[in-house]
């Protein structure tokens, strides 16, 4: 079995194990056959839930069986009272939690839990956050759990600020908690956006973060988490756009412009060219097929009076 340590057994123990496995297999195959009868007949009832529960307890990655349970709950939604429904969903959440204890990295289990939370009346998001705390205690790098946490935060009234504080606690306990730094990187732009550019982080927060991350790599210079985060933070600072070089080629009637920050061709089109005060009709092209360019080229009309003068004024007006 995947991930299990090898253990030596006697021939007797091996035979016992084989018999036990055979018995388990027979039960599993029996349950599977019964479940597929239910699925084919589209019978969504308690018996079906009981049979599928047996199967999923043995194999919680069986997505077809999870989908049967999903269809059963959707059927219940249109036939049961709110009280009964809530009871059924609560029982389902307990069942999923048990499956997750044995298989905390099962895509199907976490996905089914999302379905339950989105379908049940009165979901308790606070409880779900507590579940995440519990599973992160077992394994602070379990990305399934982190993803589920982001799902809960998104759907509930949890403030980004509270989540940032949560990551702060985890990071203080263990600077090497890469997943916490990652979670933080997603929250900061929401919590403290730069007023001028929503993709940037506000100056004050940026400086506080720099201090935090510097503490981290001074404490443990070998910790990759802090260095990756530091590099990302440096990119959050504001770079003002400017023209670094403008070249005019008279023989080729061509303008070449290099910019400090890359632009897309769409953004280039907003750059207006004036020759001796008269706006020119130009089309900017890139130097290669990259989406974002540092340099762009525009062709000017050959008959332009520009070429008759020895002095000219060129102004570029980027938006």
């Amino acid at each position: 079995m995947h991930g299990r340590l090898k253990v030596k057994t006697t021939a007797e123990q091996a035979e016992e194990k084989r018999k036990h496995r055979e018995k388990k297999l027979k039960l599993f195959q029996g349950a599977k056959a019964a479940a597929f009868k239910k699925i084919t007949a589209k019978e969504y009832d308690r018996e079906g839930l009981h049979i599928t529960q047996e199967i999923l307890t043995a194999n919680s990655d069986y997505y077809t069986i999870w989908n049967y349970r999903k269809n059963t709950f959707l059927h219940y939604k249109s036939t049961k009272s709110t009280e009964e429904l809530l009871e059924s969903f609560q029982a389902e959440l307990s069942f999923i939690q048990n499956c997750l204890k044995n298989n905390p990295k099962s895509y199907s289990c976490w996905n089914h839990r999302c379905f339950v939370l989105l379908t049940m009346p009165e979901p308790d998001w606070k409880k779900e956050l507590q579940l995440c705390n519990l599973f992160l205690q077992y394994d602070e790098r379990n990305f399934h759990c982190w993803d589920y946490r982001r799902f809960v935060v998104q759907h509930s009234a949890v403030l980004p600020g509270d989540e940032i504080n949560f990551t702060h606690k985890l990071i203080e306990n263990n600077f090497s908690n890469y997943s916490s730094w990652h979670h933080r990187s997603k929250l900061l732009p929401i919590q403290c956006p730069d007023l001028n550019d929503p993709n940037r982080i506000g100056e004050k927060m940026l400086l506080e973060e720099l201090e935090l991350v510097q503490n981290a790599f001074f404490t443990d210079p070998n910790d990759q988490s802090a260095w990756f985060y530091h590099r990302w933070l440096l990119g959050r600072g504001e770079t003002k756009q400017s023209i670094t070089c403008l070249h005019v080629s008279k023989p080729d009637s061509r303008l070449t412009c290099t910019l400090r920050k890359r632009v897309s061709l769409a953004q280039c089109s907003s750059m207006k060219v004036y020759v001796n005060g008269q706006q020119q009709n130009v089309t900017w092209t890139g130097v290669d097929d990259q989406k974002y360019q540092h340099a762009c080229i525009a062709s000017l009309l050959k008959s332009n009076s520009l070429w008759d003068t020895t002095r000219c004024q060129l102004s570029l007006h980027p938006r």
Binding site: D147, Y178, H182, S185, S225, Y229, K291
Partner: protein, 305 residues
């Protein structure tokens, strides 16, 4: 062909591995209903560009974008998927450290990074979507996964399968030569079971089929132990990929021939088939009429005697 369980719907990863297996076995895919296959893939794409795995419902993430791109590549037809939205989803999954998570907001991971790189490469959009700066950051993250073997995320243990997932990503990015071959090889071999063979994720763990395959591929990327070269994007051998290429060339020829025939028909202002059909009917009529008249003539003539 016998149908499988009629209450199971297909799974995109099984479609990918099914087609890959057929190509590996040298099949000509004549028995594959390509149109149905592609329609099935199309039905799994979501508005955000990602794919779920089965029609009944499942999680949706980078793994299934990869599967979709592979199926389209193998069937030589990308018309079924919306490449723009798929690319958009991939780019939204780029993380603060320059690598890719399973989806927007998800932590970067060797497996999802491979799926993203390979998908972009298969769609022919790797270098046109990622800027040189983004590519450099991605390369840095990937090469940083190597300690001895490779891990899937910073501060995790080396695991045999990442010798493929990350190794293949480095191949796609064109910097595989920066890998320490000896350390990588030593780690993979350390996970080999010396009694029953096969590879495991870690040393002293029971081997399994997945890690055995990934271990072999990880070594094959380095062209070691006389292993066949492996194609890093489709995750099949070069030999199987060349077979696929041959099939694609044959399909292209067949398509051109079909197009030429249809052009001839429409050009002559009436279907040649109609003229042939008319000729056949005339001949049949003549034979029928002849078979009535000729015996009557004989009868009339000879009965007089």
């Amino acid at each position: 062909m016998e149908t499988t369980n009629n209450y199971d719907c297909s799974h995109i990863a099984m479609t990918y591995t099914g087609l890959a297996s057929l190509l590996i076995l040298g099949d000509d895919l004549r028995r594959v209903n390509k149109h149905a296959c592609l329609e099935g893939i199309k039905a799994l794409q979501l508005p955000d560009g990602s794919f779920k795995s089965s029609y009944d419902g499942s999680e949706n993430d980078m793994r299934f974008i990869y599967c979709a791109c592979c199926v389209c590549t193998m069937l030589d037809d990308f018309s079924a998927i919306n490449q723009a939205t798929a690319t958009n989803f991939i780019m939204k999954s780029l993380c603060h450290d320059g690598a890719f998570g399973q989806g927007p907001g998800h932590e970067s991971h060797g497996g999802s990074t491979y799926c993203a790189c390979a998908s972009l490469q298969l769609m022919g959009r790797l270098t046109t979507t990622l800027s040189p700066k983004q590519l450099k950051r991605l390369e840095y993250w990937c090469i940083s996964r190597q300690r001895n073997g490779f891990n899937g995320r910073p501060h995790k243990d080396d695991d045999t399968c990442y010798s493929f997932w990350v190794g293949a990503s480095l191949k796609i990015l064109g910097i595989f030569d920066l890998v320490d071959f000896k350390e990588n090889e030593n780690f993979v071999l350390s996970t080999q079971d010396i009694i029953v063979g096969g590879f495991a994720k870690w040393p002293q763990i029971n081997p399994d089929a997945l890690h055995s395959y990934m271990g072999v591929c990880g070594l094959a990327l380095m062209s070691l132990h006389s292993l066949q070269p492996v194609d890093p994007t489709l995750n099949i051998s070069e030999r199987a990929r060349l077979h696929m290429q041959t099939l694609h060339e044959q399909w292209a020829v067949a398509r051109k021939h079909k197009e030429a025939v249809s052009r001839v028909r429409t050009k002559s202002g009436g279907s040649t088939l109609d003229r042939t059909h008319a000729g056949t009917v005339a001949l049949a009529f003549a034979i029928g009429l002849g078979s009535v008249i000729i015996p009557w003539v004989f009868k009339a003539y000879f009965s007089k005697s």
